[in-house]
Symmetry: C2
Subunit: 213 residues, 2 copies
């Protein structure tokens, strides 16, 4: 698929891994032309302000990408009510082959009205937000409904992107990318979901509130 445009929408207060997990997979898809896009190009700082990603492209520069990826982060809480961003998301979605999100990137899809009546997911601490916008919430890690793919929290974007890479370029190409990034996960603990983590760990994060998402 030569000349396949893949746009990442980035913004201040993003979660770095939400974007960089899928980025590291998708820029390796044969023929992919990845562009980082922002309302105002330049450096977008992460939630902690410690570092950031740079966007070289404006929304107007990239109006009809084949694939849209929306990462999450605290910044999505404001952007999910931002008319300029939501108009762009809706417009891109009207011509995209795939429209995807990681973590609370799904809040922008929800804000744009695109999850109404669709199966979708997001970070486990934000599932209620997309439900309020009509999504049929599921806790699967990667959820596909038509051409919309939503992924769970933060690190799930890697799994989402490998699934997408196989759709774009075939399973062998996706496997080659998986081997390039040596994605043979071996977490030292088994606490990566609400169902698996110790109850005290889950309860403490819920008590600490949604800023963790």
């Amino acid at each position: 698929m030569p000349g396949m445009d893949i746009a990442f929408l980035i913004f201040d207060q993003l979660t770095m891994l939400d974007a960089v997990g899928p980025y590291e997979v998708l820029h390796r898809v044969p023929g992919a032309d990845v562009k980082l896009v922002a309302a105002e190009p330049g450096l977008k700082r992460d939630e902690k302000g410690i570092t950031g990603l740079v966007a070289d492209h404006s929304l107007d520069d990239v109006s009809e990408p084949d694939v849209l990826v929306i990462p999450g982060g605290w910044g999505t809480r404001a952007l999910m009510k931002d008319p300029e961003i939501l108009d762009w998301v809706r417009s891109v979605h009207s011509t995209s082959t795939w429209t995807t999100s990681v973590c609370t990137g799904a809040l922008l899809l929800a804000g744009a009205g695109l999850l109404e009546g669709r199966r979708a997911t997001t970070h486990w601490l934000a599932l209620d937000v997309i439900a309020e916008h009509g999504a049929i919430v599921t806790e699967e890690r990667v959820v596909r409904d038509g051409k919309i793919i939503t992924a769970a929290g933060v690190s799930s974007g890697i799994d989402m992107a490998l699934t997408l890479a196989a759709e774009l370029a075939g399973q062998r190409a996706a496997e080659a990318i998986q081997l390039q990034i040596e994605y043979d996960p071996q977490p030292p603990f088994d606490a990566g979901s609400r169902a698996k983590a110790p109850a005290e760990v889950v309860d403490a994060l819920i008590a600490a509130g949604v800023k963790n998402s």
Copy 2:
């Protein structure tokens, strides 16, 4: 451990996920003060030049961090012969609590002479390079030898950082981070290591050469 300084060394032609995987884990460690450091502060572009990370700190700014993380990327091939960088790495290692690398970040440790006679790993396509510098090569995903922890290719930095987070702040804190980043990996394929990937996929990457590492 309040006021624990964690330094990431970044540079042009880095692999984004090598840095951002551990970053997303380690900035959440209670008391962690993460700083991105470069020979010249500013934006460091990734291997593809599509985006980059920003370093706000110079080498002189951050001379005695408790933890050093060195990500990989094509840029390490030049830096592993750069006296200024190698002097800094050696100096930091002389006072660090932990000295770590992801992927070909290990080449800088090797170039600094720190892997001589030590068990270590790196991206599977670069194992010979650290072996030439005296490392006892192993293909485990996360290898600890004394206070040096090396991780395999790209995505392995997440596993390394969770292991390190438990050392720094205890298992419960590491589990809380794992749940925050919802790290419950479910790769759609099982091709993440040389041993597991289809032979044709492995052979094609070897034929394509070391630039994949």
